[in-house]
């Protein structure tokens, strides 16, 4: 290994990546992993061309090594619980940014893209952040009813995103919608 890149994966990565993070034991912090569960179940019922085009990854927190998961993707959707949203969910196109999120074990999505640019070189793949409205994070608490109702709306949006991007990917590799 030359130290410049990660070891090549056994096979090319799926062109679309869904990366969700959160703690399933802390109330609304479970929203992103729960949404990923739902989408994975739904994907299994879709044509092989579609579910093979999408990889789902879950973690507890966004970390620097996730830059390696972004490599070789055509479209990336990052999914996280967000405090203070006025709508059930939000979407935001991400651009690399040097921020000050250094006092925790976690990394902001924008900083992750900056690390991609600085460490791996080149432009990161198009990334969209899907924020899920969250309110309470009590240990061993389930998500709130409101959060779960919001999640239904986010799931509908996400299914459409997957269909569009997986279809676009199949028809025209490299083209993605945002």
């Amino acid at each position: 290994m030359d130290g410049l890149t990660a070891p090549p994966p056994a096979r090319p990565p799926a062109p679309c990546l869904l990366l969700a993070w959160g703690n399933r034991s802390r109330g609304d912090d479970a929203l992103a992993p729960l949404l990923l569960d739902r989408i994975q179940r739904w994907l299994m019922q879709q044509p092989a061309s579609q579910h093979c085009a999408v990889q789902c990854l879950e973690d507890q927190q966004l970390q620097v090594e996730h830059v390696l998961d972004l490599q070789g993707r055509r479209a990336v959707l990052l999914i996280d619980a967000v405090v203070g949203l006025s709508a059930p969910f939000s979407t935001m196109a991400l651009t690399p940014c040097r921020d000050s999120s250094f006092t925790s074990h976690a990394l902001s999505p924008q900083a992750l893209l900056q690390v991609y640019q600085d460490v791996l070189g080149g432009v990161p793949p198009p990334c969209l952040l899907l924020g899920l409205r969250a309110d309470q994070f009590g240990l061993d608490h389930p998500p709130t009813p409101q959060a779960l109702a919001d999640l239904d709306l986010a799931e509908a949006w996400l299914r459409t995103w997957v269909q569009q991007n997986a279809a676009v990917e199949a028809a025209e590799p490299g083209a993605v919608t945002q």
Partner: protein, 504 residues
């Protein structure tokens, strides 16, 4: 050691005690309070931490076999440590004292991979910005992004070391998050030949990078000894696991305690009898307990755990390259224990090298690929599991009823062991930097630098609230806030004019 200084102002009359409002946060974060007298001299300095509230209650009543997976949700940073400590405790509750070689080696591989990735994350992501740019550098540069820009090779190695450790966890635990590889009594999977080959192919490179990291930190110490050997010093007793021959062991062993002067206080204490050795004290101003040695009492019996303790508490490190670096480290102390807070980073990198060497050696072992995975024994219903987690000694203690439900759970996590030591580091910074001064962002960061050196696990849950907002308040003898600043979850430094949000 002398009784803690600056913990409680004397006389306390006229000084206001402040505490974290427990509803203001849902997970651990740090808050520092400083109390001044009428001459603007610091009379009291405290680090308040919220951690693991309620988790023991969360465990009680659950079937024991669920526990090794459940406890991983304590923390997104060190889930494997909790996973393995729980399994070790439940091994004993099931009467299993010796695991089959394959199971023990697979657990050890998982654990050493976890320590490697956690240490790499801490150094390269959290601490190297302070060390490489200086405490008072531009805040927006003082993060991993800044490191990546200015030192791309270091940042790249940090990312790939971390990824390598995570891949070991995936390969041994079955998945990246909430793996199930370890079970009470042993393991439930072997390492695949494909994963073994993939990990082995990178092992030499990881050892090489780890060596470079040790030398980087060593250079920092030798280039600026006044800072690195003097910043936030606090002598402390040391506690860690060691092997019967006194060698460092991160997965299993017996407890050893060394005094701040270097003398052995307790040797080869059976892990099942940890309560004979330590006790926890509750203090009204903190949600986190304060452990201390029973033999010395709460005032003099506090100690530190983690890399700085382990590297100096052991007689040797059982891997050749790391042992060489340990000897260099010990020699730097010129016959005395090193008690400089920033030396944690040096010790931590020595451990990264050790873990990389152990992983490399283990990956050549055929027992990882085949052999019995489960032990057997006569159920006892109670067990203690102690492991050296990245941040220090981690204790899990369970009782299991005949119906297989957990009836008792006691967790003493690494950060709790270090509670007093971290407070002492904060007090050292307060004495050295804060007396009578206005709080600046640079001074605030110096407190964070001291706290960060311990790698406290303050973020054991939700990322959404999981940044470490740090507040510092100066309160005068009349209880009036003279200065109140905060770093927001986004890292912004703000001077707060509004009323304090603390209960009084």
């Amino acid at each position: 050691m002398a009784a803690p200084d600056l913990e409680t102002a004397a006389p306390p009359e006229g000084l206001r005690r402040v505490a974290i409002d427990p509803v203001s946060r849902v997970e651990g974060h740090g808050k520092v309070t400083l109390l001044l007298d009428e001459h603007n001299r610091v009379q009291q300095a405290r680090l308040h931490i919220v951690e693991f509230r309620g988790f023991e209650a969360f465990i009680r009543g659950r079937p024991y076999w669920e526990v090794p997976v459940m406890v991983q949700r304590l923390c997104g940073i060190c889930p494997v440590s909790h996973h393995l400590a729980a399994c070790k405790a439940l091994d004993r509750a099931l009467g299993i004292t010796v695991l089959p070689p394959s199971a023990e080696k697979l657990r050890r591989l998982m654990h050493y991979g976890q320590v490697l990735q956690s240490h790499a994350l801490h150094f390269f992501h959290l601490s190297s910005p302070d060390l490489l740019f200086g405490f008072d550098s531009e805040p927006t540069r003082r993060n991993i992004v800044g490191v990546a820009q200015a030192h791309p090779d270091i940042a790249r190695q940090g990312v790939l070391l971390r990824k390598y450790g995570q891949e070991i966890i995936r390969a041994t635990a079955g998945k990246r998050v909430h793996g199930t590889g370890s079970v009470p009594g042993g393991m439930n999977r072997h390492l695949s030949a494909e994963d073994q080959a993939m990990l082995r192919a990178q092992a030499d490179q990881m050892v090489q990078w780890a060596q470079g990291a040790v030398q980087l930190v060593q250079r920092l110490h030798t280039q600026n000894p006044a800072l690195y050997d003097g910043f936030a010093r606090s002598p402390a007793h040391l506690m860690s696991l060691v092997r019967p021959d006194g060698a460092l062991d991160l997965y299993d062993g017996r407890l050893r305690v060394r005094s701040a002067e270097g003398a052995l206080l307790h040797e080869q204490v059976d892990d099942q009898r940890y309560l004979d050795l330590i006790e926890e004290e509750v203090r009204p101003w903190s949600y986190m307990k304060f452990p201390y040695l029973r033999s010395l009492g709460p005032a003099a019996g506090w100690y530190r755990v983690g890399p700085l303790a382990r590297v100096q508490n052991c007689d040797r490190i059982p891997s050749p390259l790391a042992e060489v670096e340990r000897q260099v480290f010990v020699a730097h102390g010129q016959g005395a224990l090193i008690d400089a807070t920033l030396a944690y980073h040096w010790a931590r990198m020595i451990e990264v090298l050790h873990t990389a060497e152990v992983v490399r050696e283990l990956l050549d072992d055929p027992d990882l690929l085949a052999g019995d995975l489960l032990g057997a024994g006569q159920r006892s219903g109670e067990g203690v599991g102690i492991i050296e987690a990245p941040r220090g000694t981690l204790i899990h203690h369970y009782r299991v009823a005949d119906d297989d439900l957990i009836t008792h759970c006691n967790l003493i996590v690494s950060t709790t062991h270090n509670n007093q030591a971290m407070n002492e580091a904060v007090r050292a910074v307060a004495r050295e930097q804060f007396d009578g001064r206005e709080i600046t962002e640079g001074l605030l960061n110096q407190i964070e630098v001291a706290i960060r050196a311990y790698d406290p696990c303050l973020s054991c849950a939700t990322h959404a609230m999981g940044r470490m907002p740090l507040e510092v308040a100066l309160v005068d003898a009349d209880g009036q806030a003279l200065d109140h600043v905060a770093r927001s979850p986004e890292g912004h430094f703000t001077r707060l004019d509004g009323p304090l949000t603390w209960t009084v």
